[in-house]
């Protein structure tokens, strides 16, 4: 137990170091961006008005002062960490003076809801069928399933999404193709609202599942194909252990260890969002929020999204590290 606590302590230090380095690197990259948020605002303001050059210059000076973009980068970096330690990532510059975290908090649940669900569905279908295909290599159904998985996996995601959009939005318009929920539904913890969310998430989720399950399927099939030839599986079969027990307890459980690691990484990556899904289906989420932040030079918002994403990925790895010795006794903490 003592060695495990020491192991946990080391991993916590690593976690903090990863977050610090990742966030600092993001700060540097965003502040070295040639996109100036003040110029972005000025561009939107002056492009459609006939403001005189004097008025534009005056507005530029006022916004630079207001946004604090004129400060030296070291001062901004110091102020950033001071604010972050208080849980404040500063005002968004594309929605000034709304706090950046407010924008993230508004978009994040949509991304989490969609991607967590679709990732889990993809994981379950891919691994279940992959394991059965690996254990039953001569079964024609699983052979056909494998061909489909190999055929679908390389299709670019946007092509699959577009095909679904055309089929279910135009040719056979039975599913909503836009937004997170219907205009005639009141948000709240009601069955109608949840039903509307589920209905609107079918196409985005289906597109993600179609493209995503192949990877899990092929990976699991390959893992199981190796495990079924191991001595302990042969021994169990010779010993008369039922096929179901062999598949469930001996084969899949052993093959799942690397897959669970990959799942944890995938779930951590959920916080980065899916830009194309959000664009094609006009679905709310954090991916397009990040793109907007980059395009508008809103480094405050980019930092907020990145900090959440970096922390999530680092935490996912941290949790996997902690669970690994518990899941797989062969892994030691020392």
């Amino acid at each position: 137990m003592h060695s495990y606590l020491w192991f946990v302590g080391k991993r916590i230090l690593q976690l903090l170091a990863v977050i610090f380095c990742g966030v600092s690197a993001t700060f540097l990259v965003t502040h070295l961006s040639p996109i100036d948020p003040v110029e972005q605002v000025l561009g939107r303001l002056s492009a459609r008005s006939n403001l005189s050059p004097e008025a534009i210059a005056s507005t530029r000076a006022a916004l630079t002062e207001l946004y604090g973009t004129g400060q030296p980068i070291v001062t901004q970096y110091f102020n950033f960490w001071m604010r972050l330690l208080r849980g404040d990532l500063g005002p968004s510059l594309l929605a000034f003076p709304t706090p950046s975290m407010e924008l993230v908090a508004r978009a994040l649940p949509w991304t989490l809801g969609l991607l967590t669900t679709s990732t889990l569905i993809t994981f379950i279908i891919g691994n279940l069928f992959g394991a059965l295909a690996g254990y039953n290599p001569d079964n024609r159904f699983f052979q056909a399933f494998g061909i489909v998985a190999i055929a679908v996996q390389p299709i670019p995601y946007y092509v699959v999404a577009f095909i679904l959009l055309v089929i279910f939005g135009f040719l056979w318009p039975v599913l909503p193709i836009s937004g997170g929920f219907a205009m005639d539904v009141r948000p709240g913890l009601t069955l109608t609202y949840i039903g509307s969310i589920l209905q609107h998430s079918i196409l985005p989720a289906l597109s993600l599942v179609l493209v995503g399950f192949g990877g899990w399927f092929l990976g699991m099939r390959a893992l199981v194909s190796n495990i079924v030839n191991d001595d302990y599986v042969t021994y169990a079969e010779l010993g008369g252990v039922s096929r179901r027990t062999i598949v469930d307890a001996y084969v899949i459980r052993n093959a799942m260890v690397p897959q669970l690691t990959a799942l944890a990484m995938a779930l951590g990556g959920v916080f980065s969002g899916t830009v194309i899904t959000e664009q094609v289906f006009n679905y709310p989420g954090i991916g397009s929020l990040l793109i907007d932040g980059v395009n508008y030079g809103d480094y405050s918002l980019v930092l907020a999204v990145s900090t959440v994403s970096i922390t999530a990925v680092a935490l996912a790895i941290f949790i996997v590290d902690l669970l690994h010795p518990l899941l797989d006794p062969r892994v030691r903490t020392e």
Binding site: R48, T59, E65, L103, T116, L165, F170, D184, V185, G188
Partner: protein, 641 residues
């Protein structure tokens, strides 16, 4: 607890947390409509080209960069100011020379030297909460923004207004810091303008920069009904007292509800229009437009047939950086012009659906009447001395040629009447004349080595052509660079995501963009031309005020600008001075005017009819312009809708 139960419990808890978060994210703005309240004969659904509105509950347009929606109905249906100028002809009887007196009862009245302006306001207008609109609101708008950095007109009012006072409840008097015959244009909407603030609301607010103004008190005939907390739709409802608004005094807005939907991908909006879930689309790609109008006869564009698109009063051009020595000789600029092929540019960018302009005024609104038409004879006889020969470069029939090129594909959709063709495809452009271009380059000291033109200093003539990453302007820049390269000039396309920033600081060699925007319905050119004065041209690397991106300086240009500054907006001499500008521009060719920024705005007649179009050009149909408000007074429900 065993291991399996622990893992299942963890997964279920995570999902519950996620779903709880989803509900929490929405609960701040909970007013959702029942669609049964929106019968289609009372409801217009409009596509708003904005992306996701990041600050959806913010309705205070008097803060810069607050992340709120603008063309989500807020600036079309709830705001107002003194005058509006239509990019097209304006509603007959309600406007004159495309100018609407909106909150103003009459046109601006300046003193002799344009240092003071007096405005008479309409009486009988009320805010949506029943409070009268008066001169105090106008005074407050100016004084509050002048005193508050971070408001959109802080810079303009600080620079230009010495004082403002209400001499009576319906008269405002401005004293200006300097003579300014175009001061009224701050309160004249082209796309937007200085919207008047409700004094009785904002004077109670301590910090207007952090005030969301939700729900907004409206000066227009609609108020907020509901909106999407994720920032993708807004619904507005007609006020019971709509007649107490400036728009209501033009005519009754017919729709009871107007829904603006934004963040719609091109495929999405195409499908939604075909499915009857959109009445107005801001724009589509040329190809999508040709497809949808062929499939659905109820969907209409600006022109009844090809090219369908509405020409915006914005002129796409090849902009040379005059602070780059490569482009400081006008013979070089003209040579590059004569290398281009208008037909190829039209086909590559808009599949032929372009409206060409050889002069530095967009071929849209009333400009063909004021500039393009009257200048045809001058252009036809215009002569260039190449140093070796004299050529007449203008081809008045290029529009007709392009019409013939697209006729095999689009058949009867292409107009056959010559006037209709000129209006749709443009009056004419420069003939591609490679020998003349080569003579001009030779006269400028260039030499040809094989198929490569060398500069006078012996270096190859190479440069980059900056274009946006996609869209028709990207396609246009690509064909331009390709044409120059084919003729011995090593021009390379540079697709950039930050073209706006780079053109502002002059970080480009040739830029495909626009440096000319006009009122459209009015011949005055000050909207863009005033900023061309040499006093505003900055050093390389510094930020250049909008629109003289080429940083062109010429004392003759300054003289024209100063003459325009010395006359009233409506003075007929404005066209004369504008024509002088066009001629000077032709002589110098500081940039190459090419075509109007055509926007494929479409309307469906399934539920509503009476949309503006080229034959009944009372308004600009492009949905994000606030002038589009007048459309709602002219449309009527379709029979049987």
């Amino acid at each position: 607890m065993d291991r399996r139960s622990f893992m299942m419990g963890t997964a279920v808890s995570a999902l519950l947390l996620a779903s709880k978060g989803l509900a929490f994210a929405q609960e701040a703005e909970g007013v959702a409509p029942d669609l049964a309240q929106f019968p289609r004969n009372e409801t217009v659904i409009v596509h708003n080209p904005e992306g996701i509105i990041r600050n959806p509950g913010w309705f205070n347009p008097w803060v810069v960069g607050a992340g709120n929606g603008t063309s989500n109905g807020l600036h079309q249906l709830t705001t107002d100011t003194l005058w509006l100028i239509d990019p097209d002809a304006g509603v007959a009887g309600a406007s004159e020379n495309a100018i609407y007196n909106s909150l103003a009862d009459d046109l601006w009245q300046y003193n002799e030297d344009f240092t003071e302006m007096t405005v008479k306001l309409k009486q009988g207008i009320t805010w949506s909460d029943g409070v009268d609109f008066t001169a105090d609101d106008v005074v407050y708008t100016v004084e509050k923004q002048k005193a508050t950095p971070g408001t959109p007109f802080n810079g303009a009012f600080t620079a230009q207004v010495a004082s403002v006072e209400a001499t009576d409840p319906y008269t405002v008097h401005f004293k200006l810091n300097a003579s300014n015959s175009r001061f009224h244009t701050l309160f004249s909407v082209r796309w937007t303008g200085a919207w008047i603030m409700p004094k009785h609301v904002f004077e109670k607010v301590e910090d207007i920069l952090s005030f969301d103004n939700n729900p907004p008190v409206s000066l227009g005939p609609y108020t907020l009904h509901s909106f999407d907390p994720n920032g993708t739709w807004y619904i507005w409802e007609k006020r019971a007292d709509w007649e107490k608004t400036a728009l209501g005094m033009v005519g009754e807005p017919k729709p009871r509800f107007i829904i603006y939907r934004n963040n719609m991908s091109p495929d999405n909006r195409l499908i939604e229009m075909r499915n009857g879930n959109l009445d107005m689309v801001h724009d589509l790609t040329p190809e999508a437009t040709f497809s949808v109008v062929a499939q659905d006869p109820q969907i209409k564009g600006w022109f009844p047939g090809f090219p369908y698109a509405h020409p915006d009063p914005t002129l796409v051009m090849a902009i040379f950086n005059h602070q780059n020595p490569k482009f400081q000789d006008k013979r070089v600029r003209w040579a590059l012009t004569l290398m281009l092929d208008a037909r190829a540019m039209s086909m590559a960018s808009y599949r032929g659906a372009a409206t060409l302009s050889a002069i530095s005024v967009p071929p849209t609104g009333t400009h063909p009447r004021d500039y393009h038409g009257p200048l045809q004879e001058f252009l036809t006889n215009y002569e260039i001395d190449t140093g070796t020969s004299k050529v007449k470069p203008y081809d008045p029939d290029i529009g007709l040629q392009i019409a013939e090129m697209v006729r095999p594909q689009f058949g009867e959709a292409v107009p056959s009447d010559e006037t209709a063709i000129r209006n749709a495809f443009g009056y004419g452009w420069w003939k591609q004349n490679i020998p003349a271009a080569e003579e001009l380059l030779t006269a400028a000291g260039f030499t040809k080595n094989g198929n490569q033109w060398m500069q006078p200093d012996g270096q190859p003539f190479t440069f980059s052509v900056m274009v946006p990453t996609d869209g028709v302007v990207n396609r246009l820049g690509s064909i331009i660079a390709q044409t120059w390269a084919q003729n011995g000039v090593q021009a390379e396309v540079e697709a950039a995501s930050d073209t706006w920033d780079r053109q502002r600081v002059g970080n480009y060699e040739v830029n495909i963009a626009w440096a000319v925007e006009t009122w459209g319905g009015h011949p005055d050119l000050s909207f863009f031309l005033d900023s061309y004065h040499s006093a505003y041209v900055v050093e390389p690397g510094a930020s250049q005020p909008d629109r003289n991106w080429m940083r062109w300086k010429d004392p003759r240009l300054d003289e024209i600008i100063e003459k325009i500054r010395g006359i009233d907006f409506n003075d007929p001499k404005g066209i004369e001075y504008g024509t002088d500008f066009v001629k000077l521009h032709l002589e110098e060719m500081p940039n190459i005017p090419i075509m109007a920024y055509n926007v494929f705005s479409l309307q469906s007649t399934r539920y509503w009819t009476g949309w503006p179009n080229a034959e009944n050009n009372y308004a600009n149909p492009v949905t994000n312009w606030s002038n589009g408000r007048y459309i709602f007074t002219q449309i009527t429900p379709a029979a049987g809708a």
